[in-house]
């Protein structure tokens, strides 16, 4: 059998109805285009996420937070309602008891705190290499007449020197203990140091940090300053008198202290501290291409002052006074990424709040896969519609060419050959649509990448420079092959119909 001759015959058939066959091909094109774009985006986003996060030991890290603990006797299956009653009533009361036990659990507060003792305990867990508290605290900051309440500070891992590459003026702190601080360029900007020269000018000067008033270990956010008008607007519904409003205004400023007191003030003997720190450098916001580290960059996105963790820890202890030093967050490093999940689970079993990058990544990956699969199915509908279009076109073509098929048969075409010619015709439509879809998708990815990168830049604080749409070889092959296969499937029935044409009827003179 001469394939080239058959392809020629099929091509001739296609070219005879260019308009119709082009439209049919566009159906395949749309399906393949959409499918390629969606899978490519799914692949790309996954690469963005893993690429951003998987380097630099991130996969060995687990974020550890205080937990609510677990009360063994409050497990739902162990709640028993006793007494003589109907099963229906017992079931109702049991449900009520479960609901209330859950309320008690959440209301019991942060029963598992991150203290030095509890961290020491956790360090003994298998596969745990180290646990390092992360010190994020708010202080009041005063500098050259500028004042800010509640500026976020962050204790950097001095030895890792991770943010050093972001120091745009001055230098990295000289030691883990030195009273030296790096100021974020944004804080300086809000203070009016607009140009880089102005920002660099603060290096060598001294700023003062002091503990937020009334802040014990809870270190709550200070209340925002509010004008009487603001307060009036806020409390309009309550119809407060002038005197009451004034009282609210006064009280709101001291709310942190009052809250601390209400929570059992005498246990939490916070000490007000005040410290002069020398500005040794200006730190810039991360840029695309910076090494991303969850420890430093993931936790410090809102921090304006950075100092070595040795200093941060010292300040924390001073502020705690005779009370326990309590951390808000710690970073667990496991010996190998493969153990991250198990250790995370162990921490949760103990009642702490913990999440590992690996688990988050896995969850992200699976949800991204689900989304991609669902979207692919939706686009698959476009391909199914295209298939129906092909079936329609091919049947029309067979009907139109019944006499021609009769001639083929009279001159010796076998049924198989007749089928093959129509299958080739359809395959060519599918291949053409698939190649077009792939080509246009590849072109659309260029602006698509730019748009997607802009979106990432707008929505997150981490810039990204790589490709968001990626088109691996297997995906390049998938589009045209899928288009062709679908078209061949669509042509099976019309081709069979063509092969069953009765030459006597087809050739009858009329």
């Amino acid at each position: 059998m001469s394939w080239i001759a058959m392809i020629g015959l099929a091509l001739g058939g296609l070219l005879r109805k260019k308009g119709r066959n082009t439209l049919t091909m566009l159906g395949v094109f749309i399906g393949v285009f959409a499918l390629t774009m969606i899978i490519s985006l799914g692949q790309g986003l996954m690469a963005v996420i893993t690429g951003t996060v998987s380097g630099d030991d991130n996969l060995r890290q687990i974020s550890l937070l205080p937990g609510f603990g677990i009360k063994q006797n409050d497990k739902p299956e162990e709640i028993v309602i006793e007494g003589d009653m109907s099963e229906r009533r017992r079931e109702r009361l049991r449900r009520a008891a479960i609901a209330r036990s859950q309320l008690r659990q959440t209301a019991s507060g942060q029963s598992l705190r991150l203290t030095e003792e509890s961290l020491d305990e956790l360090r003994k867990l298998e596969h745990v290499q180290s646990i390092k508290p992360l010190i994020l605290r708010r202080y009041q900051v005063d500098f050259e007449g500028h004042h800010s309440d509640g500026t976020q500070t962050f204790g950097i891992d001095y030895a890792r020197r991770h943010p050093e590459s972001r120091v745009i003026a001055g230098r990295y702190p000289s030691s883990n203990e030195a009273d030296e601080v790096l100021v974020h360029e944004y804080l300086l900007y809000t203070w009016g140091y607009v140009t880089e020269e102005q920002a660099a000018g603060v290096v060598g000067k001294t700023l003062v940090i002091s503990s937020v008033k009334g802040a014990g270990e809870d270190n709550p956010m200070p209340m925002p300053e509010m004008s009487p008008q603001d307060l009036q607007a806020l409390f309009r519904d309550l119809k407060l008198s002038e005197a009451e409003l004034a009282a609210v205004a006064t009280l709101s400023k001291r709310l942190p202290e009052i809250l601390a007191k209400l929570r059992g003030g005498e246990q939490r003997r916070g000490i007000a501290i005040r410290r002069e720190l020398k500005i040794v450098g200006v730190l810039r916001e991360p840029e695309a291409g910076d090494r991303f580290n969850l420890l430093e960059d993931g936790q410090s996105t809102q921090a304006d002052l950075f100092f070595a963790e040795g200093l941060a820890d010292r300040l924390l202890r001073e502020a705690a006074g005779s009370g326990d030093v309590v951390y808000q967050r710690a970073l667990v490093m496991v010996d190998d990424p493969s153990h991250a999940e198990a250790v995370e689970q162990k921490l949760r079993d103990k009642g702490y709040t913990a999440f590992s990058v690996a688990t988050v990544l896995k969850r992200l990956e699976s949800s991204l896969t689900v989304v991609t699969v669902i979207l692919s199915f939706l686009t698959g509908i476009a391909l199914i519609v295209a298939t129906l279009g092909i079936v329609n076109t091919m049947i029309t073509s067979v009907i139109e060419r019944t006499r021609e098929i009769g001639v083929w048969k009279a001159v010796g075409a076998t049924n198989t050959q007749v089928q093959i010619v129509f299958l080739i015709e359809s395959a060519l439509i599918g291949l053409g649509g698939g190649l077009l879809g792939l080509g246009v998708a590849a072109l659309a990815m260029l602006p698509g990448d730019i748009i997607a990168r802009n979106l990432i830049a707008q929505r997150t604080s981490f810039p990204y420079e790589g490709a968001v749409f990626i088109l691996p070889l297997w995906l390049q092959v998938t589009g045209p092959v899928l288009g062709t296969l679908v078209a061949i499937l669509a042509a099976i029935y019309p081709a069979r119909r063509a092969s069953r044409v009765d030459p006597v009827t087809a050739l009858r003179h009329d």
Partner: protein, 247 residues
């Protein structure tokens, strides 16, 4: 004996009721090299008989042997190959493929035989030369006159050098002058040794060219006359002249 038809019946089911019989026990033997005209009114079964000889159709019962091979036992594929190798068809309505050039139409049988394009072209040109249309090779059917179209169809029928040429009213759509040309080509082919079976309802045409006239009525052979070849020879010369004057 190249064709041996024995008690052949062909019935069609139309709408499921009583089957309609196009052939009712037709029996006929055709010698190799004969020029046979099947003569009869429409509905006499002559076309059905011709389609059976050409392997386009199968008998309901009875036997058709061509070259000693029983057609009714062949598979669809074997019948296709049989048509490809042994049979050439010429139809009343030419049945050329409108989108193909003359030479492509002529070479169509070779496409299914798997002959490479260059050879197809060469052989098609050869055939077109023979029917006097060498200069029309690249024309499409719509650009050709009826007589030219039928000559293209004739070239297509002969390109595989069939043993039997079947004509179903090949001159039915042509005026008398063009008909003469086509008949001349038929006679010429017959002289080369090709067995010709031609269906016609025109007794005059049969009288003038056929070496044998088989009359059919109601699906059976009712008359069979062998004739001298003299007339045909004479006619051939006249027809060839006519053809060369035109071509």
């Amino acid at each position: 004996m190249i064709v041996q038809i024995t008690d052949v019946w062909r019935q069609y089911r139309m709408g499921g009721a009583e089957p309609v019989a196009a052939l009712r026990g037709a029996t006929l033997a055709i010698e190799a090299g004969e020029f046979t005209c099947l003569l009869g009114k429409s509905g006499s079964g002559k076309s059905t008989l011709m389609n059976l000889i050409g392997g386009l159709d199968r008998p309901t019962k009875g036997s058709i042997e061509v070259d000693g091979i029983e057609l009714s036992r062949m598979s669809a594929r074997e019948l296709s190959l049989y048509r490809r190798e042994k049979i050439g068809f010429v139809f009343q309505s030419f049945n050329l493929v409108g989108s193909m050039r003359a030479w492509e139409n002529v070479s169509l049988p070779l496409v299914f035989a798997g002959v490479p394009r260059a050879e197809r072209k060469r052989r098609a040109d050869e055939m077109l030369e023979r029917v006097g249309l060498a200069r029309r090779a690249d024309h499409r059917p719509t650009q050709l006159s009826g007589g030219e179209q039928q000559r293209v169809a004739f070239a297509r029928a002969l390109i595989s050098h069939p043993r039997i040429l079947l004509g179903d009213e090949p001159t039915g759509n042509l005026d008398s002058a063009t008909s003469e040309q086509i008949m001349a080509l038929m006679v010429e082919e017959n002289r080369r040794g090709t067995t010709i079976v031609m269906v016609t309802h025109d007794p005059d045409l049969a009288e003038r060219y056929a070496s044998r006239i088989v009359r059919m009525a109601d699906g059976a052979v009712v008359g069979d006359t062998r004739r001298e070849k003299l007339f045909a020879t004479e006619a051939t010369e006249k027809g060839t002249e006519a053809a060369s004057q035109r071509g």
